[in-house]
């Protein structure tokens, strides 16, 4: 490689490395702001590394798995309440009064947005269903005895 090209390559790569470092450090510094949601354990105990904890009255998103057997529907209205958990032991009660997404079911991962009314209750204004990255036909899922897996939160 001739010296001029070598010099240009050095300049270009140092610019690229510099930009990558800037991006890397800023992403690292802003890390938690990029999370879409808190997990139930983080709501109760604070984030593991920074201890950031939502306060009552704050508008937050909570993501986790719907605890099997915890869904209680009101027979007169759309009101529904259910518990949300993650791999930790804490659970959060979610109250909601709109139509739930099609994928909502017990054991399903969901993300609820709303206002924290006490340190373990969320009055949700929106409930989104999260699905995992596994795709398979129904017959195979049945054969594997598969309902749902993995709370990876």
């Amino acid at each position: 490689m001739n010296p001029r090209r070598k010099k240009r390559l050095a300049i270009v790569s140092s610019v690229l490395i510099g930009a990558a470092a800037v991006a890397g450090f800023s992403l690292y510094a802003l890390n938690e702001n990029f999370d879409l949601f808190f997990t139930p354990t983080e709501v109760v105990n604070g984030k593991a590394d920074s201890g950031i904890m939502p306060v009552v009255g704050q508008r937050i998103r909570v993501g986790g798995m719907v605890v099997v057997g915890s869904v209680k529907r009101d027979s007169e209205s759309l009101k529904v309440a259910f518990k949300l958990k993650d791999s930790g032991s804490e659970t959060i009660t979610i109250k909601y009064e709109k139509i739930l997404p099609d994928l909502f079911r017990e054991g399903q991962g969901i993300v609820a947005q709303g206002i924290l009314t006490s340190n373990d209750t969320l009055e949700a204004s929106e409930v989104l269903a999260k699905h995992d990255e596994e795709y398979m036909p129904k017959e195979i899922a049945d054969a594997m005895g598969k309902e749902h897996k993995k709370p990876t939160y």
């Binding site: 240009r8 690229l16 269903a129 999260k130 699905h131 596994e134 795709y135 049945d142």
Partner: protein, 246 residues
């Protein structure tokens, strides 16, 4: 070592070479897309949870992968244009950007159409969706810079720098679902483990992925040739070509 590559730095040689590739790429793409999308949309099994909505996968994922693949190609062309000062690399950036932007837009739109029935929302500001949107803006930026200068050489240099620096966004898009809590699910196919997809669904997906890749190849080659002609319009070989076609 790179001697065999050198003839292709000549615009005339590249022009005729890509001209020969286009029909092959187009035919392969048509066959793969017909079979792949036909299998995927009509005959592949429905998902155990998502039912028929899972079929958007066969369009959404190839588009998203190509949006990133084409950007990587553009960044490599940017590096070549800056270090080796190859004019043709600048032409290929100009050829790649709009095709890549289109695939990014397709990925975003099909993603929204998939998100509404499955998640319950067209759009969520999670890390994956936002970084993919930034990729679209990077493509727009490269296209805008290319047209912002009267001087082609200056425009090419500016676009190359943006194309190259923007490559930092690619690992962010790919790993966003692992680094942060996102609503978007993790990778199904592009990971080191076995794809978490049944084989009847993986097969049509791979066919349509390669079908779309060859489609992108066809479009990029066509645009690349048009760029070469435009940038070399004063050259005798282009004039001779124009006369031949009259």
């Amino acid at each position: 070592m790179w001697k065999w590559l050198h003839p292709y730095a000549n615009p005339e040689v590249s022009y005729h070479f890509t001209g020969k590739l286009i029909p092959w790429f187009a035919i392969i793409s048509a066959i793969l897309l017909t079979v792949g999308l036909g299998m995927g949309l009509l005959y592949s099994p429905a998902d155990y949870q998502q039912g028929n909505s899972v079929r958007i996968f066969y369009l959404h994922v190839p588009a998203a992968m190509l949006s990133m693949g084409l950007y990587l190609g553009m960044a490599i062309a940017g590096l070549t244009a800056l270090v080796w000062q190859m004019k043709l690399a600048e032409s290929s950036i100009a050829a790649l950007a709009p095709v890549g932007a289109t695939f990014t837009a397709i990925a975003l739109l099909t993603g929204a159409a998939w998100g509404k029935p499955m998640w319950g929302a067209w759009w969520v500001w999670d890390a994956r969706l936002t970084s993919e949107l930034i990729l679209l803006f990077l493509y727009f930026g490269v296209m805008a810079l290319q047209n912002a200068f009267e001087d082609k050489a200056l425009a090419g240099k500016a676009a190359s720098i943006l194309a190259l620096v923007g490559v930092i966004n690619l690992p962010i898009i790919h790993y966003s679902v692992e680094w942060w809590n996102t609503l978007h699910q993790g990778a199904t196919v592009s990971k080191f483990e076995k794809p978490s997809m049944s084989i009847d669904m993986l097969r049509p997906f791979l066919l349509s992925l390669f079908g779309f890749a060859f489609l992108a190849g066809t479009l990029v080659c066509m645009r690349f040739r048009a760029e070469i002609i435009e940038r070399n319009s004063m050259r005798p070989w282009v004039k001779a070509l124009a006369k031949e076609h009259n």
